[in-house]
């Protein structure tokens, strides 16, 4: 199935959780995540099954004023 990660179309296996997606993508960085504009807390990532067409937003802190 296909999901969108930061607007980039990404193919994943069905049943994949948010935790496994982030482990492969975020490289261990400190990130926060929203799926379809709802924030998903880190403790929920391992139980969060992704659905076809989900829009996943992954953000991280950077320098800024």
């Amino acid at each position: 199935m296909n999901i969108y990660v930061n607007d980039e179309e990404t193919r994943i296996d069905s049943g994949q959780t948010l935790a496994s997606l982030l482990a492969s993508l975020s490289g261990g960085r400190q990130v926060a995540v929203a799926v379809n504009d709802t924030v998903i807390r880190q403790e929920e990532w391992s139980d969060y099954p992704l659905q076809d067409q989900d829009r996943v937003l992954v953000i991280a802190p950077v320098q800024g004023g």
Partner: protein, 259 residues
Amino acid sequence: MKTEPLHIAGHTFQSRLFLGTGKFGSNQLMHDAVVASGSELVTVALRRVRLQEQEDEVVSHLQIPGVKLLPNTSGVRTAKEAVLAAQLAREALQTNLLKLEIHPDPRYLLPDPIETLAATEILAREGFIILPYINADPVLCKRLEDAGAAAVMPLGAPIGTNQGLQTRAMLEIIIEQSGVPVVVDAGIGAPSQAAEAMEMGADAVLVNTAIAVAGDPVAMAEAFKLATLCGRMAYEARMGSVRKSAEASSPLTAFLGQE
């Protein structure tokens, strides 16, 4: 030399200089400038992760004893986007502190007052400690205070311009009227301008560009530290009033004799 501590929604700050972390040449330089500034509250931004690239991680460079992080919502254009950004910031950094900034205009980066007020109303109900970045509008400041803002952050001049306190007359009214701390944010380009804001009675200043783009950012951070302290000390010492006509500092007795 100590001045009165600043309290914002249960957080206490001995330093009245807040620092932005943008535009530094490296994370090490940013870290060293934060340390030299003595600041206890520094901003960070949030960005979409570029998934295939290794990006340097900023937070580890800001884990400095006594320094709290103030995530901002830079990049959002509406209240709705700001609410999501705030929720993500809280999750990423485990803090309720929030610099709310909504500036859709890319040329002057001026904040949108209507969206900012709407976002403040929503985020206050969600328990955020909101420091909204806004134009120096005294009426808006009162409305934000009523909506639950923990402080107000009126601008001195547009972000990154180093023009100083162009909004001085309005800042004076805001400081006079505000029931929450007033942090002059944006536009402060020289230590003397930070001191000026503090002498006027601002509760704190937030400085970024003037330090980050200086020839020696670490030395400039220390200069701002001293200027902010200096201005606050002068304010607490209660400055004399400005007069039109002269008032003698020396006795005017005619000691060479009259007649």
